[in-house]
């Protein structure tokens, strides 16, 4: 059962929408005040940035406290495992108490405690069952640790409604498939099938539920699972740590499966885009566009063709052309609309999202690595002559 009642969740969702409408000028200040006056939200919340810092410090303190007890008591591995399980359960219960007693809602502290319970319980179960961090332990502790961690993440998501816990559960499902299956082909196929099943179930629940906030949550889980399916199937996409990089694993695939994944990475964005466009599922529209870009970017490696330096330029020009064409087509529709879509930015929240995307694009790796820096260019140039108009006459040929 959820910690917060459906009324509280619905009111918070509605309050957020009203504030966004007011900021965007869709309603005036008087209307906003009247509407907000009808909504009662008796929970303690805080600003996003303070929440983030509180989350980080809570996780840090909880992890350090467990390490402190383990180090002070000079505990063995299995005892550390039991300590982790007990600490994880306590952290989960403490998060429940904080929400119940102090009516915290996305305050950072209770989130940190709930989230730290996932790795603590997972790691603890693994250690108790004989998982050895620095040696070759059997597969069972690893498998059971991941299973427990995934189930704990589902419990945290179910109880508190934290969507990042759902994301952790999806990562757990992927790791679970990796632990269960033997060959690379079955690992990829099983992980993709499980994640796709989650996406389908979340989609079904989203379409059935009547509360907006729940529809938004299921929509987010559906999108995450759908993107996860794609990330598992695109074997040329480099994701995560080097040991989990999918780039490293395509070598062991049979040809039929390799081309099957190639077909999937083209079909998935199309299916996602068509369905989400029809249902006006914004998050999925963005995700489908994102994975479509990833497909275009990994097409050459898939076909075994050599990447050229001008590929990125052509790709960028192609995307700019497509964006301008679509924008002009929609704007040319009656009243600037086509099928319920407009190019105008109606809500302030959309602008904030675009700003966040723009900021995030700055940290994309490799964006500035193609060309050597000016200093490097100068260092690499070995002049053998040609000073002061000598035109190379003194050079050694």
């Amino acid at each position: 059962m959820r910690m917060h009642s459906p009324e509280i969740e619905s009111n918070i969702h509605l309050e957020r929408q009203i504030r966004d409408w007011a900021r965007s000028g869709a309603i005036d200040a008087a209307q906003s005040t009247t509407l907000l006056g009808d909504i009662r939200v008796n929970v303690k919340r805080t600003n996003f940035f303070l929440r983030a810092v509180l989350f980080i410090f809570t996780v840090l303190i909880a992890a350090a406290a467990v390490a402190l007890v383990a180090a002070t008591g000079h505990l063995g591995e299995k005892t550390i495992g039991i300590l982790c399980i007990i600490s994880g359960i306590l952290a989960f219960l403490l998060a429940n108490i904080l929400v119940n007693e102090f009516q915290l809602y996305r305050f950072g502290v209770e989130e940190g405690l709930a989230v730290i319970s996932i790795p603590l319980i997972s790691f603890g179960v693994g250690l108790v069952l004989g998982f050895d961090l620095f040696g070759h332990s059997s597969k069972a502790p690893w498998f059971l640790g991941i299973t427990t961690g995934t189930l704990t993440a589902v419990a945290v998501c179910w109880r508190f409604g934290f969507q990042y816990a759902a994301a952790l559960a999806l990562v757990g499902i992927g790791m679970w498939a990796d632990a269960v299956a033997e060959t690379v082909t079955t690992k990829i196929a099983l992980a993709a099938a499980l994640l796709l099943a989650v996406a389908i179930v979340a989609r079904t629940w989203r379409r059935r539920c009547v509360r907006d906030y729940l529809a938004a949550e299921f929509g987010a889980i559906e999108t995450l699972a759908f993107v996860g399916t794609y990330l598992v199937l695109n074997v040329h996409l480099r994701v995560g740590l080097a040991s989990y990089s999918t780039t490293l694993r395509y070598g062991g695939l049979p040809a039929w499966f390799y081309w099957f994944t190639y077909a999937c990475i083209w079909i998935l964005p199309v299916i996602g885009f068509i369905l989400s466009l029809r249902e006006k599922h914004r998050l999925m529209i963005l995700a489908s566009l994102g994975i479509a870009l990833a497909t275009l970017a990994t097409n050459k490696p898939y076909l075994g063709r050599e990447a050229q330096t001008w590929d990125a330029i052509l790709f960028g020009l192609f995307l700019i052309g497509i964006a301008i064409a679509i924008k002009r087509w929609i704007a040319a529709g009656p009243g600037g609309y086509r099928h319920g879509y407009t190019v105008a930015s109606l809500l302030q929240g959309d602008k904030s999202m675009m700003t966040a995307l723009g900021t995030a694009s700055v940290v994309l790796p490799g964006a500035n690595t193609a060309l050597p820096s000016h200093a490097e260019s100068q260092n690499n140039f070995h002049s053998g002559g040609g000073y002061s108009g000598g035109a190379g006459a003194s050079g050694q040929f």
Binding site: R45, F49, L50, L54, A64, A67
Partner: protein
Amino acid sequence: MDPQRWPLYLVCLMIVSGGTIYFGVRFRSFAFVAYGVLYGYIGFAAKVLDGTRDFIGAMLFVVTTGSAVVFSLVFLARRIGSAE
């Protein structure tokens, strides 16, 4: 770090992070409050724990100072940090 420079480093760090937090609160730009707290703590903890081999002491330091930061932030959040 040279022990003679440690007080100067600490004073500079306190001025920069304290100033960032103060003006972040004053102009209600909470991103700067977050920067001030995080970078201030990292700057302080990195120097205190630099080269230490005492694991228990390090963990005790993180638990106590981290708790102090959390309590201060909860107090601050209850006073000024609204949800919107």
